[in-house]
């Protein structure tokens, strides 16, 4: 086991793979859903790492694998330099206190039969933090912190709007004073005005409590706003990863460029002038086997060699998985 | 001279629920011109869908009830039309597509059956004519090898492909009006871009007028010519697309624009969120419904409901303030630095 040093990232995955076996048909070889297929990323203390990509590209699975909630097929996960992907459920327990998760659907992730107070104090009693009296006080403090009136302690989730429920989810995650919060599309289901409130709240909390976020989203604007560094995923792979400004000002991978140019911006003048790179086709099934680059079918700058050569993620500050990165996209 | 093809006046829809009467749509009025795209924006629950369902007599009743107003299409009031006559317009002259392409197609029927029944009904096609027509339509919306795909079932199509099928189906009788209820909300950005592009192309070639319901300001900027903003069942601002983004007249519109993060701008501290929650439609305040969340609220806003009034030759807003300019400058600064 390596000693944690100041440069060791808080959380790290190395070539992480999560495969699910799909139902095998008679006479056919076993096939795999490559949900996460070799992802290496790191999260530093106090920073927000954004993770973007279209639905089905493996973002949620990656987050779940970090917490040991999805089977790790290969590769490793390190927390403070310690390898945790082979931990038993019991070894994992204390880590669950350090790494918490919040989810996209604030409706589905709260137990409808528990009051807000019970929801927020439950993690504290699981980890036996505080005395019983203190737990209630702590819960009220947390509700206040996330912008909910502490008098709501005895209400039930159905009495709240989507944005308020997301706040309850955040309060629950904060109940055990975690170091890291894995945010799985926490604002995707919310209306814009409420989305802004929750984003502001998350940023506030990060400053006050020194949290680190792995922030998953499919909205590139949200990620640009909140993340310090960003990773772009496509079909289980990280195709580009660098700090936010660099990525948005100088995107390299053809997929990143297409994603950026596909996002409509709230400015009609810019929209009318925009020459969007309309990405053809759709994301292939994660069961498909690719001898070469998995973006080949939809790529606008591809060359013949891409079909047979699987590009690795290369670079130090700005990592890109494309040898032709930055090549001019031909008008079509 | 642009021609008005749909004129909605003072449309009001209520729902009788256990909690009380929900005033889902309150005296909504707008006009739609031939060949234009009219945006209807607002947060969820503000009455966008119900407004449009009411036009086609599709509001579930009970609990819903149209309590007033008229919707003139070719001089006839859709809201008072007989069921038979209205169903000859639905899907034929006015077509509709919905938010969730995964659930909007019938999972038990082939695409062919679902597409042909529209033209066989409205255009009196025979089955073989209808199939031929449907295949052409599928080709037009960019579905590869439509001759074979048409005999598949919806579950064999991806979300984006199903929305294409919905569009092909909606356009198969060459409607004059297409009501698109959040057609891209459930789709990924790259697919959304494809669908928006497709809708623009089809509008150009067919001259269809589109009512685009959305909550995404980016989508509005991309496709709409004119925009109406709804809040709590009412229209609070009407403007051309350029005007709306350049100079919003209603504090709610301003708030919406400020609260979206921008993909081309680097982060500058906090977003300017609108505080609070949308109001409960059962207990609306006496005054302006937006007052509790408004940065500009005055004494008057509490007591009196502002009516839509002319602000510019092409823009109207339901606010007592003549201009939000001072504060707009302020919000611009905070965004840029």
């Amino acid at each position: 086991m390596t000693e944690p040093s100041p440069t060791t990232p808080l959380l790290e995955t190395n070539n992480l793979m999560v495969y699910f076996s799909s139902r095998k048909k008679w006479g056919e070889p076993q096939r795999f859903i490559r949900a996460v297929d070799g992802v290496s990323l790191s999260l530093r203390e106090g920073e927000t790492l954004g993770l973007v990509g279209e639905s089905g590209c493996g973002k949620s699975t990656l987050a779940r694998a970090i917490l040991g909630l999805a089977p790790v097929t290969a590769g490793s996960v390190h927390y403070r330099g310690q390898r945790i992907d082979q931990f038993s459920a019991r070894q994992m327990r204390p880590l669950r206190q350090e790494i918490q998760m919040i989810f996209q659907d604030p409706f589905a992730s709260l137990n409808p039969r528990m009051s807000v107070g019970q929801i927020v104090t439950e993690p504290m009693s699981i980890f036996q933090l505080y005395s019983r009296r203190e737990r209630r006080l702590e819960a009220m403090r947390l509700l206040d912190l996330v912008g909910l009136n502490p008098r709501y302690m005895n209400r039930y989730p159905h009495e709240f709007s989507g944005g308020q429920r997301q706040r309850i989810g955040i309060a629950r995650a904060l109940a055990v004073s975690p170091k890291i919060i894995l945010c799985d599309e926490p604002v995707s289901a919310l209306d814009v005005s409420i989305q802004a409130q929750v984003i502001n709240l998350l940023q506030d909390l990060q400053q006050k409590l020194g949290l680190s976020y792995l922030f998953i989203a499919h909205d590139l604007a949200v990620v640009r706003h909140i993340a310090d560094r960003v990773g772009v995923m496509y079909l289980g792979r990280l195709v580009e990863s660098t700090d936010t400004e660099r990525l948005y000002n100088n995107p390299q991978h053809p997929y990143t460029r297409a994603l950026l140019s596909s996002s409509p911006v709230p400015d009609p003048v810019a929209e009318r002038q925009r020459t969007g790179i309309a990405l053809p086709g759709e994301i292939p099934s994660p069961e498909t086997e690719f001898p070469g680059c998995r973006f080949f079918d939809r790529c606008l700058i591809r060359e013949a060699s891409c079909q047979t050569h699987d590009p690795p993620l290369e670079g130090t500050e700005h990592r890109v998985a494309c040898p032709l990165a930055g090549k001019e996209i031909a008008e079509h | 001279m642009v021609e008005t093809i749909l004129e909605v006046k003072d449309l009001s829809v209520r729902f009788d629920t256990e909690e009380g009467v929900v005033g889902a749509v309150d005296r909504v009025g707008f006009t739609l011109m031939r060949g234009e795209t009219l945006g209807l924006v607002g947060e969820s629950g503000c009455g966008k869908s119900v407004t449009n369902l009411a036009l086609l007599g599709l509001v579930p009743s009970p609990p819903g009830k149209i309590v007033g107003g008229e919707a003139l299409y070719r001089g006839e009031n859709l809201l008072e039309m007989s069921a038979g006559k209205l169903s000859r317009i639905r899907g034929n002259r006015i077509a509709m597509i919905f938010q969730d392409p995964m659930t909007s197609l019938n999972p038990f029927m082939t695409i062919a059956d679902q597409m042909t029944e529209v033209t066989m009904l409205h255009l009196r096609h025979t089955y073989s004519e209808a199939i031929k027509h449907a295949i052409t339509m599928l080709g037009n919306v960019g579905i590869a090898s439509p001759e074979s795909r048409i005999h598949g079932y919806p579950h064999q199509f991806s979300g984006g492909m199903r929305q294409r099928v919905m569009i092909a189906m909606a356009l198969s009788c060459k409607p004059e009006i297409l009501i698109a209820d959040e057609p891209t909300t459930a789709l990924d950005v790259t697919i959304q871009a494809q669908i928006l592009e497709l809708m623009k192309q089809l509008q150009e070639s067919e001259g269809t007028a589109i009512i685009m319901i959305t909550h995404d300001m980016g989508v509005v900027a991309n496709i709409c010519h004119r925009v109406h903003v709804m809040y709590a069942g009412r229209i609070v601002e009407q403007a051309t697309c350029e005007e709306l983004f350049a100079r919003p007249r209603h504090p709610y519109t301003l708030g919406l624009l400020d609260s979206v993060p921008r993909v081309q701008k680097s982060a500058a501290g906090q977003l300017l969120a609108i505080d609070g929650q949308p109001p409960d439609l059962v207990h609306l305040p006496v005054g302006c419904a937006f007052e509790p969340r408004c940065r500009f609220s005055e004494e008057r806003c509490l007591k009196e409901q502002p009516m839509l009034r002319e602000m510019t030759p092409s823009g109207r807003a339901a606010c007592f303030l003549d201009s939000l300019d001072g504060s707009k400058a302020l919000s611009k600064e905070t965004m840029d630095d």
Binding site: W26 | L56, S87, R90, M96, F98, S104, P107, F108
Partner: protein
């Protein structure tokens, strides 16, 4: 599809064999034998009879012989043969083989069962749709009240009321026995009524659920008239729960037919089964059990296939 059928056939044979074996030993495990009647038989006579029916042999030998006969590969005296299943002679109904008795009783019972099930389906589905379309008004409440009564009332009670009403009071139908199809109307009604009621409830719930689906709104938005929307777009989805109920319904109708055949003096397989069980007529009881197994198994396969036909998302495996 072919693989599905082959697989189901293999399971079917296994099921039949299991049913045969379990029934064989269970029946013989109960004290008493077929020939311990009220009259004491002379020991010699009894031995002769037992020899005639092979009951004197050890259990396993009997088992092998009977299994072989039922499978159509052994004859009664243990010779190899190749032919239809032979269930041997009945122990109590002299001079008749079980095959003959079943051949005589099965058409009656099958007619009764099919009639009852069709009655349940037609009435149930129609009533369910009507109730769903008139949700929460008088028609709906009326139909559903009737359905609740239909489920709650035991069928022998309904049979008695039916006989009093339609045979004695308004003499429309023959009381009992077997001759024409009209003899089956009342029994089939009594047998099918609870299922009609239950199917009505299932259809109503299914229909109401489907009518809330987005694709129904799409269908209306296309301008289809309400009847088309219901028959073409809603019905299939609404019927799925009914289809999955057909398996249990068939089983219930089989059980119910034992009582109903008795009440109406129909000499179908149900009546023979009850008699055979009471009188320890092992081969006959076994024959009927096997017939019932075949019927239920076939019914379940039909249900699975209909399900896949109705819902294209389901693949038969």
């Amino acid at each position: 599809m072919v693989r599905f059928l082959i697989r189901r056939l293999l399971w079917f044979l296994l099921t039949l064999w299991t049913v045969f074996t379990v029934s064989f030993f269970l029946m013989r495990a109960v004290p008493g034998g077929p020939f311990d009647g009220d009259r004491k038989l002379e020991p010699d006579v009894k031995r002769m009879i037992e020899q005639r029916y092979n009951v004197d042999q050890p259990k396993w030998k009997q088992y092998v012989t009977h299994l072989g006969m039922a499978a159509g590969v052994l004859s009664e005296d243990g010779q190899w043969r190749w032919g239809l299943p032979d269930l041997g002679p009945s122990y109590r109904i002299r001079d008749y083989t079980v095959n003959q008795i079943i051949a005589q009783g099965l058409p009656i019972s099958a007619a009764l069962g099919i009639l009852a099930l069709s009655f349940g389906l037609v009435f149930g589905v129609t009533a369910g749709i009507i109730a769903a379309l008139n949700r929460q008004n008088f028609t709906d409440t009326g139909v559903m009240l009737l359905a609740t009564v239909g489920i709650a009332v035991p069928n022998f009670w309904m049979a008695s009321i039916g006989i009093i009403l339609f045979v004695f009071w308004i003499p429309l139908l023959p009381a009992a026995g077997w001759g024409s199809l009209s003899h089956l109307v009342l029994p089939a009604f009594c047998l099918g009524a609870p299922y009609a009621a239950y199917i009505a409830r299932l259809t109503r719930t299914g229909m109401l659920e489907v009518l809330h689906q987005d694709y129904i709104r799409t269908a209306y938005a296309k301008g289809l008239p309400a009847r088309r929307v219901i028959m073409r777009h809603a019905l299939k989805g609404a019927l799925l729960p009914v289809v999955s109920f057909l398996g249990p319904a068939a089983a219930g109708i089989l059980t119910g037919s034992l009582v109903i055949e008795k009440v109406f003096h129909l000499s179908g397989t149900g009546t023979y089964f009850v008699e055979a069980a009471l009188q320890r007529d092992y081969p006959l009881a076994m024959g009927v059990v096997l017939v019932y197994t075949v019927v239920l198994y076939t019914m379940n396969v039909i249900v699975d296939i209909s399900y896949a036909v109705l819902d294209p998302r389901i693949k038969l495996q």
